[in-house]
Symmetry: C2
Subunit: 333 residues, 2 copies
């Protein structure tokens, strides 16, 4: 069957395609809530102390490498938005997604995009509860994620001296993946894992579940989407009396990226500290509580907090300062 451009269908049919798929997977007994998903706004029944919300917009030229399929683009907008909910120690429950779609997008690309969105919602156990469709020259996906939390919500302001600093997984792979794509070196099987970290990022939901179950483990949680150095800078701004000591040799990474960095004349440290697009969590941990549950947690300890009020990197036994920089939109230099 010949594929169509979505401009042959129009906004209403496109919404119907998406909602029919979504509705077939809905598992909600409250008819008011079900009906609300086709009304002016969605209802959420409140059952927690707090509702947690965050929004992130992805625009094709900045956030979707051309190697990324429509399915993967759909997955990414869900992952990027749910990431901020996990960073509050909250349980993600739902998402709204507004889209700007190019009229030259084909129907099968649209189907893939929406399948990617819905599959990732299922993976994270959340429901797509709202959205909007518009026309734009390039693809724009703007999500708003919603979660629930109780008094164990984790803000970035409560870090204590003597906490362990941890990350939930490897750093630097998305940075290396972008260089591999630039070198057009994506067919090498050894690099599959690296490329996947950029094109199909996913969140550490098992770790998050344990952190919610034992809220005494973490003193703060944040995501690392702007790079480890920038995020440490934010934590330092919010906890001016706390120092952050990072052991360079403890930073976890996929060994393949060492070679990629060499071939690209890049310093491995750039990949690990300053790139971002990482969908791991950066944690500060109560040492005793972490020890009690560490067997259930897939966390790499990379440092420790102290009373210095500074961010320092210990590399080959020597102390270095970390430059607090990462990617920034709308910045000329």
């Amino acid at each position: 069957m010949k594929d169509k451009f979505i401009s042959e269908l129009g906004e209403k049919k496109l919404i119907k395609i998406l909602l029919d798929k979504r509705d077939s997977s809905l598992d909600i007994s409250d008819m008011n809530i079900k009906d609300s998903y086709h009304d002016d706004a969605a209802l959420i029944k409140n059952s927690s102390e707090y509702t947690v919300v965050s929004t992130d917009m992805l625009i094709e030229h900045s956030h979707f490498p051309k190697e990324m399929t429509s399915y993967q683009r759909g997955q990414k907008v869900v992952t990027v938005n749910v990431s901020d909910i996990l960073a509050m120690n909250a349980k993600p429950t739902s998402i709204l997604i507004s889209m700007g779609l190019p009229p030259t997008m084909t129907l099968s690309e649209y189907e893939d995009l929406t399948d990617g969105i819905l599959s990732k919602c299922e993976h994270y156990g959340i429901t797509l509860i709202g959205g909007d469709i518009n026309e734009n020259s390039e693809l724009i996906l703007c999500g708003t994620s919603i979660g629930i939390a109780d008094k164990n919500v984790k803000l970035q302001t409560n870090i204590e001296e003597g906490n362990l600093i941890g990350v939930s997984g490897n750093l630097g792979s998305p940075a290396a993946a972008l260089d591999l794509i630039y070198l057009n070196d994506i067919s090498n099987e050894n690099n599959d894992r690296i490329i996947e970290s950029l094109l199909e990022p996913t969140l550490p939901i098992d770790t998050s579940e344990v952190l919610r179950e034992y809220p005494e483990i973490a003193t703060s949680i944040t995501d690392i989407t702007d790079g480890l150095a920038v995020e440490l800078g934010h934590l330092s701004d919010k906890n001016p009396d706390i120092g952050f000591e990072i052991y360079y040799e403890k930073l976890p990474y996929d060994k393949t990226i060492e070679e990629v960095s060499k071939r690209n004349y890049k310093n491995l440290m750039e990949y690990l500290l300053h790139f971002g697009e990482e969908f791991e969590l950066l944690l500060t941990l109560d040492e005793e509580e972490y020890a009690r549950h560490s067997d259930q947690l897939d966390i790499h300890i990379i440092g420790r907090t102290n009373d210095s009020g500074k961010i320092t990197l210990i590399k080959e036994g020597k102390e270095e300062n970390i430059s607090v920089r990462g990617y920034e939109h709308l910045k000329d230099d």
Copy 2:
């Protein structure tokens, strides 16, 4: 002082400008919630039975006529999004706004845009609690509005036979305004009110407050952003046994638009029924309860529901069918 392009400042400074303004107007005693506004996600303390959420994306070429100032664009994204909360009979409380900004936007345009956003938030009594800033070739503003509701939330599915049909204000002015702009006839003072309806739309918040106070008045509420005919079509789809009889002569409009329609060789009915961009509410009302409170409500009665299952227009005593069409994105023809 020479104006700057926002690309000379970068995302972080732009966010800081907005948040400094927002923070100076924050009036919240809960420090957890205040802190959360600078964290990964915003906390909302749950105090109602339901949280109500909706999202709408505005893109420059579709939604912002070039005559619209940056301040008015900021106002519009708030109005468009809050509209859906009022349409649920919910009380609007907060909003998140993601922006795609052209790098050639000047700092003073950005200041105007954010002032427009914050002034409209203040007008509606809501708080800006989240957002994201990206670079895009044209202006994109994507909002997610949040409100609170109890069991008196109004879905579109509970319309009864014998209800009155009402609208909260004049129809057709935004359609006429677009034609005036097309004719470049915007300097005529007589047309100021019409132009304003397009460039500075606002919501009937006083009417909404009375409807929330006396929830027995309305059996359904929806907004008319896609045009009266299309919205009646939605209500008819959701209430297949109900008929909607509209009295053409009762449709409220600013008399100035009659002349505009003539000069543009347009049928007035097109303006009143099929254009949209209207930020009024379409209501079905319990006749007795409405009569009891009508002095407090600024509502125009335009029809009545019956058991015909059809949408009919009574014009000069004769029955006509209404074609259920309005504006649609991503539609070629």
